[in-house]
Amino acid sequence: MNNTLAVLASGEASPGEVVQATGTFALIVALIAIPAAGAVLLLLAGRRANRWGHLLGTAIVLAAFAVACVLFVALLAQPEDARTINQYLWDWIDVGTFQAPFALQLDPLSMVFVLLITGVGSLIHIYSISYMEHDPERRKFFAYLNLFIAAMLLLVLANNYLLLYVGWEGVGLASYLLIGFWFHKPSAATAAKKAFVVNRVGDFGLSLAIMMMFATLGTFTFEGVNATVGQADSTMVTWIGLALLLAACGKSAQFPLQSWLLDAMEGPTPVSALIHAATMVTAGVYLIVRSAEIFNLSETARLAVVIVGTITLLMGAVIGSAKDDIKKGLAGSTMSQIGYMFLAAGLGPVGYVFAIFHLLTHGIFKALLFLSAGSVMHGMDDEVNMRHYGALRKAMMVTWAVFGIGYLSIIGVPPFAGFWSKDEIIHAAWAEHPIAGFAALVGAGVTAFYMTRMMAMTFYGKARWDDGVHPHESPAVMTIPMIILALGSAVAGYLMLYTANIEEWLAPVTGYEEVDGIATPVMIAMTLTVVVVGVVIGWRQYAMREVPRVAPTQVSALTVAARHDLYGDAVNEALFMRPGQHLTRTLVWTDNKIVDGAVNGTAAGIGGLSARMRRWQTGYVRSYALTMLLGVVVLGAVLALGVLL
């Protein structure tokens, strides 16, 4: 154990000193233990907990949030170079040189994630109390949510990649359980399986990366990797980076593993808000930023990240522009925004900070947008088709107002949160990779278009409601979390950038370099122009004209493609599913005809042979005697020949 600690503590290239957790910091483990205990309790208590399960689940996340706040204050009190706190718990795997401690690490990067997960998580738990009120399985829902919170916190608090992998799989499991929460719907059950299978491809990348790390560096703790990766073979480092990128693509629904996220919207809306918008899907960004030392050393891996991010941000935006299902529209938008984060992370030290910054603001405003969408659905009898909305502004004033704030934030109108973070990314991208920067700028315009479309179709225009639908505002238990998130969406960006100085806060972990590109005012003017163009087009198309109740079929090829998720599923089916099916059919045929054929043929041959040999047993003593005599004669002849020759 002491050796492990010595290794952990001696990371030379690590930013600042690693401090062992004492005093307040002993609470780090409580962050994970509390929600895990909640999940276990709620699952084991069974139906007895139905009356109070949701309250316990919410209280537990609030408690975790309180612990997170205490830790945040304590971390602020630490000197700037001593903000990496390690908490060693026990030796998890200790075989020869293969040592995996069960140890946690709290540093400024983990801290912001912990605050986001527990903070937004608490609000979404509160919201769910009312949203899931009429679901008979509400207790189980909260148990799964607590399980998710515990796994996600383990993911961001692990101090080595193997333990991170445990959290990584844990959130995958929680995501699977929650997407398929209404598993009696075949579409939800299929979507859950799809998410699980696609994620498995990414997880394969992560396990490869960990294996390569151990093979080349002999360690997989963050400290150890950061300290030794500089001396490693550069080709190997690139491969590790690419494997990590594959992992990140799976979890964050980036091209080419993007197909599961849109289907994941089959889950309850709070799940979409918490897991598939604010926290879990951004774990890929966390992984890349956490592995900054690896990506810093490999130009190729970083370029791959930029390409993936750029493609996905455009794909997501295009898909979001054509979806009539409000949640799928938001899911496309999530893909697109995470594409921005990938793009930023791929830029290297100039971008890591802004990737995380955008992740945080996005976590707040996208959770808000999803919760608002859930509130709209709640008032519209679970209708998700925006063509059946319209004119909801009067019926749902609060939802309209908070959705409006989220809208202004995501399209990047100053001074709302999204403006600060997205603008920094476009600025940095423009300076480093002009093509990606241009794509990001176009993406900002498309974002403005699809969000305006969503806003107009839902809250403006004429009412296109189904008969018998009486839209009404959601209860306060739902609106209050939305209002808090709206406040966050309004001011968090400015506060984090200027009051809290997020670059300085994260720099010790991720590194930070100023980028010198186009002057900021010019950049802002360009971005805002593009945004205004997007808004105007969207408004003219969907607020000033009549929106048909049935989606028009005479549309451009791009719209058709976008409605089909840009044929992501078709590509998967053509490239993997059908060849896979052919392969399995061939294998089954080989197994039946050739392997089984050989075995069955041998058995049949022996059976036939013995049936024939059985005839020799006549039962006549004299024929046996004759056989014996012949045998003796043959033996005698052989012996005689042997003697003679």
């Binding site: 047993q617 006549t618 039962g619 006549y620 003593v621 004299r622 005697a625 004759l626």
Partner: protein, 99 residues
């Protein structure tokens, strides 16, 4: 005295015995033929013992006689039992072991 004559006699007796075992159907006769073959081999053993001037062959002849006596006891008992149940001493009748 030429030992070859004894050996030829032994061979003739053995062949008669063997042929009897193969062609006769009556269990008693088959049995007697077996005895004949045993005695033919005894004669050969004694002849060889005489030729080589050792006692080994004669000792073996005694063993064969003892075994033959024991065999007669068991064999006759079996034949009698079979005759009692099947009313026949033919060796072709008891073929129940055939599948």
């Amino acid at each position: 005295m030429n030992p070859t004559n004894y050996l030829v006699l032994s061979a003739i007796l053995f062949s008669i015995g063997a042929a009897g075992v193969l062609v006769r159907r009556n269990a008693i006769v088959v049995f007697m033929c077996v005895e004949l073959m045993l005695n033919a081999s005894n004669l050969a053993f004694v002849t060889f013992a005489r030729t080589n001037g050792t006692l080994d062959g004669q000792v073996v002849a005694f063993f064969v006689m003892v075994v033959a006596a024991a065999e007669v006891v068991i064999g006759l008992a079996i034949i009698v039992t079979i005759f009692r149940t099947r009313n026949s001493a033919s060796v072709d009748e008891p073929n129940l072991l055939k599948l």
